[in-house]
């Protein structure tokens, strides 16, 4: 089917929809439609799929990815990418657990210390991208390798001994409001803060501006380098915070715990309609992308799909969805 007829059909459908739906980004609508489809398929497979307990459990698992994807979205909105997520996650988790071994003060400062380690990784990324003008893809791969090297030296090649603090476990698995896991509340708070920053603050405006055309943003008086630096620092910090939550969830840190979050975090942002070239996208889309990815993972594991099949389906789904609505314009 050619693109013109496809968009014609979409337009025809859009004309009959209520106003708030007509204004919505087609990518976000598609992502939500896919979520409904996945839920439907899952409920055909197993009746317990639509039970509130299962759905809340999914939301809880999604919130770890959601926190990490929030940082990734900020960076992608700038037209950059953060490939240091795997070891920023692992470093945050491992450093927070390590700090807990140093007496009561260490326990109290475990979470901020872990997050600060992620911020440090992000600042190195930000300096490289904003001030040294190194392509973000390259510098973040390099800091990822350095963070990995540091963690390998720190642990001596073994899994770290220290386990997560009670506070970390409470954040990841506890319940402040009955029935709603704390992790979901945290994701909601971070998400709300992100929406506020992106839509109501000058920082958010600057992020969208830089993503569209950094040169124009610079000429209109924005200190683009500072904004890029802050965005990378926030992304590193949120990745590490995601790692802290994961460590609380599993009650310990592990070396390769972040590997499984790089592709999903990028995929969640991009499937949610945020342009990989930057400057366009909404947080609602990222939420949809995160839930979509988590549901897909969950259904594949419920169907007892082996790891190999999961990886294949995963890659194919992402490429297919991107081909549907993530294509760059043709060169003229």
């Amino acid at each position: 089917m050619s693109e013109t007829t496809l968009s014609g059909i979409v337009g025809g459908i859009a004309g009959r929809m209520p106003k708030f739906l007509r204004r919505a980004d087609p990518a976000v609508v598609t992502a939500f439609a896919c979520i409904v489809l996945l839920l439907f398929l899952g409920s055909l497979y197993s009746r317990s799929f639509l039970s509130p307990e299962y759905l809340l459990q999914q939301l809880k698992v999604a919130s770890f990815l959601g926190v990490i994807a929030t940082g990734m979205m900020l960076v992608i909105l700038l037209g950059q990418i953060d490939l240091s997520v795997p070891w920023a996650v692992a470093a945050g988790a491992m450093m927070a657990c390590a700090a807990a071994a140093y007496g009561p003060a260490g326990v109290a400062l475990a979470i901020p210390f872990g997050v600060l380690c992620g911020v440090a990784i992000g600042i190195v990324n930000g300096i490289g991208v904003a001030y040294l003008r190194i392509p973000s893809m390259i510098i973040t791969l390099a800091t990822n390798a350095v963070a990995q090297g540091l963690m390998v030296v720190y642990t001596g090649g073994f899994s770290p001994q220290d386990s997560a603090t009670a506070a970390m476990r409470y954040l990841a698995t506890g319940f402040t409001i009955p029935g709603v896991p704390n992790a979901v509340i945290i994701w909601a708070l971070i998400g709300a803060a992100m929406v506020f920053v992106l839509t109501r603050s000058s920082f958010g405006r600057a992020v969208y501006g830089i993503g569209n055309r950094e040169r124009a943003a610079y000429l209109s008086g924005i200190d683009t380098r500072r904004i890029v630096l802050i965005a990378f620092a926030v992304s590193g910090g949120l990745s590490a915070f995601g790692g802290v939550l994961l460590a609380g969830y599993a009650s310990k840190a592990a070396q390769s715990m972040g590997d499984a979050y790089l592709l999903p975090s990028i995929a969640a942002v991009v499937l949610g309609g945020t342009s990989i070239l930057g400057g366009r996208g909404s947080y609602l889309g990222t939420v949809a992308g995160v839930i979509l990815i988590t549901l897909l993972q969950s259904i594949l594991s419920v169907m007892q799909m082996p790891e190999a099949g999961r990886q294949i389906i995963y890659g194919v789904v992402i490429v297919a969805m991107l081909l549907l609505y993530g294509r760059a314009p043709a060169s003229r």
């Binding site: 990418i81 490289g128 040294l132 003008r133 190194i134 392509p135 893809m137 390259i138 510098i139 791969l141 390099a142 800091t143 990822n144 390798a145 350095v146 963070a147 990995q148 090297g149 540091l150 390998v152 030296v153 001596g156 090649g157 055309r213 950094e214 040169r215 610079y218 000429l219 683009t224 390769s256 590997d259 790089l262 592709l263 990028i266 995929a267 991009v270 990989i276 070239l277 082996p306 790891e307 190999a308 099949g309 999961r310 990886q311 294949i312 389906i313 995963y314 890659g315 194919v316 992402i318 490429v319 991107l322 081909l323 993530g326 294509r327 760059a328 314009p329 043709a330 060169s331």
Partner: protein, 326 residues
């Protein structure tokens, strides 16, 4: 008369990589307990050649201003495949080799088709296809194992006439058969042109799409040759996620050390080969100086960080601040 100056300017990155490699290898072999012997050279060559193939693959794509984050996974997939197929009688082995190389070509072509005809960003597209390739590798080898035709393996990892490492000869043959014809062909020039300015190349009627497609496809082939050699060295196939990722990462480091511009259009695969050999030698320097191997990942990461930061020196030449923003 001034021709040699242009040649020098064009080859500066390659020559620099060659120089770094020579210096590093001199330090390495001078401090090696066994000294500069045929054995030391053979071992170093066998390790270096693996990365050199993957780095050549990465170069082809980077020249077009793209990036292939799936090379390491193609390398892993073809390794697993070779551990099933490259075995048995001469004819069966030959068929196996062809099948493995064909798989590499197909993987590369899939990447190329998605990036060029699907118009997706190479980073995201190749991360996703990398997941698929790794899944296929895991399907072939859920646990490490398999075997390979040991006569062929020993022949290609041994020495010719007792001195020349066979793997280096194989590398030279691949350069002559794949890289030289490609870089001198119309499509090779199109790949360079697309990397340096896609719009200008498009306007001048250069076949950029076919050039880029061929670059991605041949990158798959080169990564497959690397995977085949990995099987020859280890005699087994293993779907290791960390090792595949490490090769992708190191291939980028090798390309940068080899003087290939990450913005595309500048550099050559020869430079990347020396970049790869230099990177491997630097990584192994730790061993001859008796450091704890635990420090190796950190050491390699720091080298990578320094190598990519070197590109920032170009900033000193910027006169107009607007040139910051490409």
């Amino acid at each position: 008369m001034r021709d040699w100056r242009y040649w020098l300017a064009e080859q500066r990155g390659t020559l620099l990589a060659f120089g770094i490699f020579i210096v590093m290898f001199a330090i390495y072999s001078a401090n090696h307990p066994a000294g500069f012997t045929a054995n030391v050279v053979q071992t170093a060559a066998n390790k270096g050649v693996l990365l050199a193939f993957v780095a050549m693959a990465q170069t082809l794509v980077v020249l077009t201003a793209g990036i292939d984050l799936s090379v390491g996974m193609i390398f892993t997939l073809t390794n697993c495949m070779a551990s099933w197929l490259v075995i048995g009688t001469g004819l069966e082995t030959a068929f196996g080799v062809l099948a493995v190389l064909g798989t590499g070509l197909i993987c590369g072509a899939v990447n190329g088709a998605i990036v060029i005809y699907g118009r997706l960003q190479p980073i995201v597209a190749t991360i996703a296809t990398g997941a698929v390739f790794f899944g296929l590798a895991l399907l072939l080898r859920p646990v490490p194992g398999g075997s390979v035709n040991e006569d062929l393996a020993d022949f290609l990892t041994g020495r010719f006439f007792g001195v020349v490492p066979a793997s280096l000869v194989a590398l030279l043959v691949v350069v002559l058969v794949v890289w030289v014809p490609f870089s001198r062909s119309e499509f090779g020039r199109a790949a360079y042109a697309a990397g340096s300015s896609e719009t200008a190349a498009y306007m001048s009627g250069v076949p950029i799409r076919r050039g880029k497609f061929l670059a991605y496809t041949l990158a798959g082939l080169l990564a497959a040759i690397g995977g085949l050699f990995l099987t020859f060295f280890t005699y087994t196939g293993e779907a290791a996620y960390a090792s595949g990722n490490a090769y992708t990462l190191f291939s980028i480091a090798a390309v940068v050390l080899g003087g290939v511009s990450l913005f595309g259009g500048k550099g050559s695969a020869i430079g990347a080969i020396f970049g790869a050999l230099a990177f491997r030698t630097i990584g192994d320097l730790l061993f001859v100086f008796d450091f704890d191997p635990l420090w190796q990942p950190l050491f390699q990461g720091v080298i990578l960080l320094i190598a990519v930061s070197l590109g920032a020196f170009a900033l000193f030449r910027v006169r107009n601040r607007l040139e910051w923003f490409l």
